[in-house]
Point group: C2
Chain length 172, copies 2
DNA sequence: TGGCTATGATTGACGCGTCAATGAAATGAG
DNA sequence: CTCATTTCATTGACGCGTCAATCATAGCCA
């Protein structure tokens, strides 16, 4: 209630308070710690890094478990070269493989091996449980609603153009 | 009030919903993006990485701008070896230096050089402004309150023992 | 004292991520 | 068709972070 702020607008406000700064630091510290913990758990349970998991997740949801490398990069919002390096490491471990692309001779197509599929399947359940235990179990449903709104505000502020595309599929 | 959840307790709840999972992913993605952005800004404005900034901040607040290496590691919650590597790189760049410790011949003492002090001073204002612009300006004061509570819940859940050190300043 | 263990700090190996450079194929203008 | 430009993907160099190993010293106890 009350205060003089507007959430969405491109407004110049008062100075940032030290409370706000310290909430920022706490956000960084807490998410860092959560990621460390969940990453360690994942790697211990399944010998996968969070980055591996992200790649496997995207591939396992793709048509035919295969994707153009550039599409994959866009999907998980990685730089191309990062993906290239990472795919090279994953290929060495037998989790994925790369083929030349049929329709564009520059392109590469990445696909899950059976081993990669199994690794992902085996990782999913314990990883989800760990997220529940360390994150979801800590919050009430009111807090989830609030957090959802906060994240939406942050995203809208970061990407002012594409605010509030309702619930549409496919197009961009 | 209302729902069936208890925030603090070590309670086993229902299955995690997909909405909760997707809020988790959004939290990871959004904080990652914010950190990338602020890190890029910092490095562009001041030629410092966020890690450099963390070290410089801790040192600049220390008695005499110097600290035992192990104390520094504990202060910013880094592994010793990470700190060692990072200090070596910062020393090469002239931001800090290391001395043998007077009271413990195993120990090292780290201190800010004048150059490091200047670099930190020059970085602080633009960095704080960037945090304000990209983070603080996106949220209402109600959202800050909610976020503060959420982070407290998460931290309490991660560290069940040291719950609820009240709100006093300075000592702990 | 001698010897065991614990601690402070560093190192090397290796996986990871960014940036700038490369090469190769598609695309488009003339 | 030819040349310039853009796009796809990879590579190398280098900074970063983790893990396991190392080494010296401190602390302890018999």
């Amino acid at each position: 209630m009350s205060g003089g702020e507007r959430p969405g607008g491109a407004v110049a406000r008062r100075r940032m308070t030290s409370a706000e700064l310290s909430i920022w630091r706490s956000l960084v510290d807490t998410t860092t710690e959560l990621r460390r913990l969940l990453g360690a758990q994942l790697s211990q349970d399944s010998n996968l890094s969070p980055a591996d998991y992200q790649v496997l997740l995207a591939l396992s949801e793709a048509e035919g478990r295969r994707m153009r490398s550039s599409v994959l990069a866009a999907t998980i919002d990685w730089e191309r070269s990062r993906l290239s390096h990472h795919l090279a490491r994953m290929e060495r471990r037998g989790l994925i493989r790369r083929d030349d692309c049929a329709t564009d001779n520059r392109g590469a197509e990445v696909f899950l091996t059976d081993e990669g599929t199994d690794a992902f399947r085996g990782a999913t359940l314990p990883h989800t449980r760990a997220i529940k235990r360390h994150f979801a179990d800590a919050l009430t449903s009111e807090q989830f609603d609030a957090l959802d709104g906060i994240l939406r505000s942050l995203r809208d502020h970061l990407h002012p153009e594409q605010v509030e595309a309702p619930k549409r599929e496919g197009r961009r």
